[in-house]
């Protein structure tokens, strides 16, 4: 956890620098009131102080129980998480082309077959079930406008 804190502190330091520099681009005051640059500038300064404290504390403090644990899981678990995010991103990328129902079907089949090791028949069954159920809930019950895609559904 100490290493994670240090790395997170460095990222925050970068973010704080960005906030300060962007804040300086805009007016600091506007008449009697703070201008658009006031808040980003001070947020950057506060974030920089907190990030430095986090980094400093990670060097200074004694090892706790959490410090001896790895913050992130092993490669296999990270791979699962990455794969879910990729499939999820794929959904966002194709949903307007393929339409909601077809994309839900593809999404569910991919997750169940590749990630959860379901058999292909079962994956297809759940894909159809999810697609139909969500269509009924969102389209018919709640009347939410969903992407139609080239199939028109």
């Amino acid at each position: 956890m100490k290493k994670t804190d240090r790395n997170f502190g460095i990222v925050c330091l970068g973010l704080s620098l960005w906030l300060i520099l962007e804040g300086l681009r805009w007016d600091y005051t506007s008449g009697f009131t703070p201008g658009p640059g006031f808040e980003p500038f001070w947020l950057g300064v506060i974030l920089a102080c907190l990030a430095l404290f986090l980094i400093f504390d990670s060097f200074r403090r004694k090892d706790s129980k959490d410090d001896n644990k790895n913050a992130f899981p092993e490669k296999k678990a990270l791979f699962r998480v990455a794969l879910i995010l990729i499939i999820f991103s794929g959904f966002a990328a194709i949903v307007e082309t393929f339409g909601f129902e077809l994309t839900v079907f593809i999404f569910v089949v991919l997750i169940l077959y590749f990630l959860e090791s379901y058999k292909i028949g079962k994956s297809i069954f759940y894909g159809i079930a999810f697609s139909g159920l969500l269509f009924l809930i969102f389209k018919y019950w709640m009347q939410i406008e969903l992407p139609h895609g080239f199939l028109g559904i």
Partner: protein
Amino acid sequence: MEYLQSLLQGFSVVLTPYNLWMATVGCFLGTMVGILPGLGPSATIAMLLPLTFGMNATPAMIMITSLYYGAKYGGSTTTILLNVPGEGASVVTALDGYEMARQGRAGAALGVAAIGSFFAGIVGTFGLIFICVPLAEFSLKFGPAEYFSLIIMGMLTIVFVGGKSITKSLISGVLGVAMGTVGTDFVQGAPRFVYGVTMLMDGIPFVAVVMGLFGIAEVLVSAEEQMKMKPIKVKFSQLWPSVADVLESKWAILRGTVIGFLVGALPGAGSTIASFISYGIEKGVAKNPERFGKGAIEGVASPESANNSACSGAMVPLLALGIPGSGSTAVMLGALILYGLKPGPMLFAQSGDFVWALIASMFIGNIILIIMNLPMIPLFAYSLRIPYALMYPAIILICIVGGYSLSTNVWEVWLIIIFGAIGYVLKKCDIPAAPMVIALVLGPMMEYALYQAMNLSHGSILTFVTRPISATLLGIALLMTIAVMSKTVRMKRAMLEDDDD
């Protein structure tokens, strides 16, 4: 008498078939999703928020509060049967609840949790009425300077709401305020952090952030492993508590209710602290404290009651002052804003009918939960056997539809994915998401109040310390900061798990 009349008016709004149906659906879905391991009330509300889109504000908020109570109860089921607390507040329930389940008394534990939650919910809502209304009336005296100081005080409670580290909670809060600055500045109309992306002109959509940070991030953490849940098998006949069980826990329920409400009403204190304190007190007053941790029914009754009455308590600062004291109430505040309502001092004055309907729905929600939960304990217990592999794609899909339906644009879906990934990293880095969400909501309000206060005082910063109410609020904030920094409080905080209420 005036309260009673307003409350009756609220009941007349809630007791329509449609609103009752929304409360029932909210309780049921909240319980079903809240049961999933790792998913606390904030995540449950965030995930199911899209179901309210397209509704009017009143049925939508009735459903959301029902989701809140349902999720709270669902978390208890997982804790008792799986020993996997879905939120910080349930951690202490696991000590005796799981032990009771192992001893074949799961029904008694689940039943007492349901009865305790019901009693606490009802009493807590009465407490809400008697504190919230005078507080809201008092807060009508607030000008921009007072409101700014109040928000500063509310923001500082972030350090209580968050995880174990004050520094990390503060970082999370600062990042939340920074996110709130994205979009068109209201002083000069300058686009801040927009970089030519027109969709960012209106700021980062709150719902996308909440769904990503609470919903998707939780799913990603749970989906790291192929989760196989093995709940304790309970015989059908053992799934209800006996009269003796209920009688044995009556004082524990009463004490838990009072403690929970008082602690919950303090911004930032939250139900985790309430449940820990009530458990500690219960153990302290017990004739045989050595039974605690080995399946004492009072060890379930008291924290579960405290947990639920803290929910009602947490609504006090939200409704009267517009300051959310926890992650869940921050999501609710966001939902109120989404429906065009302005929580805070003016809410009672401008939308009295709505507020009283909401309060009435809290009574109805608790009644529905007890009617539904006691006979449905077996169903909820068996729902833990639904493979998680089927649950998480459904949750992700609900979030996607929710994001898309906000603007019928895939942009929101991309934001949900991005914030989901950010939320996952934050969780791994032990950075609490609740302060970020609270700050995202309060940040723009704070900036606006500062702008107004400075304008009215012709640029004099002394306005914040020369006005009595504002000075008092800032004084409280200062005292709170000193208290948080004290060694004793820091040590106590280290004992608490991350709070997701």
